[in-house]
Amino acid sequence: MALLEAKAVNVVYEPNRGQKIWSVRDVDLRLEQGEFVGLVGESGCGKSTLGFALTRMLRPPAHLEGGIISFDGQDISALEGEPLRQQRRNGFAIVLQSGMNALNPVRDIAHHFADIFRAHARDGEDLTSGVLGTRGAALLQSVQLDPDVLGRFPHELSGGMRQRVSIALALALQPRLIVFDEPTTALDVIVQGAVIKTIKDLQAKNSFTAILISHDLGVVLDATDRVMVMYAGRIVEDQPSAELLRGPHHPYTEALLGCYADPRADEIHLGGIAGSPPDLSLPQTGCSFAARCPLVEDVCRSIDPELTALGSGTAACHVRAREFNAQMKVRS
């Protein structure tokens, strides 16, 4: 049984009465226990919104508009209040992009840990400050921070250290699923590399299920086993990371890969993606990438392609699906 399963999930932002922005559109996904999955796309493609929807963190003006999210076999899409809190107790956690600024500036780090342990205490749990200190210190050590950090305030820590504290806080209740939403975007390259390595090691050691959300395909391919590429609110490709790097199916994924080059190479050809994503407040007809796609055909402008299986993964592209089918026919 999948740990997390989403069916036909739609998320709508309603900033004003009558105005609807379809940020996540008809997303289906399945995460097995212990998988490390990446979610990639440009700003505004709905990747963070999807991460929020999956962990039931959406707040107005955003809301789920249809769709089922089941966690460990239980439908959580309509849970509220105490039952939802129970699920969060050791079900799922999220590390935010602004996580480094999410710490309370007037409280030391020890307080942050104590707060979580107290809020989610089980009956008869030992909550003396000595025990809490030991538990906090162990968590800090798991993210390569010195236990001394417990006595420090957020402003005394660097950005990388603060992000590590956020990760340790997310680990505190040993969740089965952790969503990392752009955990390294505000950090410089060297620190980013180190934080990603910590996440990767923790995931391998504690075998929790993880979703890494990032606009940086380089980071995601580096860390994850499987990558889902999002465009304009839909998942357009889903492939194991190694296969995606070797043979991207969707033209959007191909274009994203073209934005990278090795700075050591003899010749550098750096691509970009012309144009910008569609306005999601308007109804979409056809493939939403059609306007920027180099392979575009007439059918792309009228019919929205479904995710179809193409060898090692799935992709939503008319042209690539046809090519794949033709290839299969030749072989058989």
């Binding site: 410089d188 980013q192 380089g218 580096d222 934005c259 090795d262 700075p263 190479a265 970009g272 993606i273």
Partner: protein, 293 residues
Amino acid sequence: MTASLASSPHQAPAGGLRPSESPSVVPPLVVESVTKTYATRGRHKAPVTAVDDVSFAIAPGAAIALVGASGSGKSTLAKMITGSERPTRGSIRFGDTAVESLRTGGLREYHRRVQMVFQDPYGALNPLHTVAYTVSRPCQNFLGLSAVAARDRVFELLETVGLTPPEQFAAKLPHQLSGGQRQRVVIARALACEPDLIVADEPVSMLDVSMRAGILRLLARLREERGLSLLYITHDLLGARVVTDEILVLNQGRVVERGQTKYVLQHPGDEYTIKLLDAVATPYAAQESPSLT
């Protein structure tokens, strides 16, 4: 230019902007043994040396990359070069001008010739002013153009940076633009007073990867077409490779490695440079020979 770029979809029409009236030679910027120390208060009283004995020069039309991780002194150097901080020791000369001794009037003339492009395109534009207003201010303030002349020039500038049709973009407010488009407005504003040198401090780090290539291409093209000198401050080695021909690697305020960009990146000598190169998250890092489609 050693790196070739794929053809740009944002290519502006040829001759988008007239060159400066007098083809004056850009005075080279010379930074000589510059050191900056900050006194700190509180528990740790030892002064912090942000920049330690750094020297380099930028020739007319050249582009230099200053590369290093956070806290390596890159931005402190930029502040000293643009005149907003003074070096503790050493000197910065721009042609005959000693930058560190400039005061209000001189600094103003200096700012006409040296402009800056900032990291955060979301914070660098006044949210209450249209693009046209933002870009026309330096035309009126520094070049003394009339409002009507400034308006024409704004259109030319917007075309140069690839915001076409300019009539449409001129009327927009910052929140109606994407991050990449905002950064193009910031670049247009920097170009407005016909500077000789542009100091770009991490101009693409806050943009989507898909938008970066366009901005990098724009900077490379402006340099070629207008003979602009460029100081490109970054921790992104790929950007440095595409835009610049010389590189300085800074670590804790000191230059640890310097040379031709391509050569340094292919034959890094310093441990720190190697660390930076290894930290670059490129999907091709694991592959033997990078093959791009």
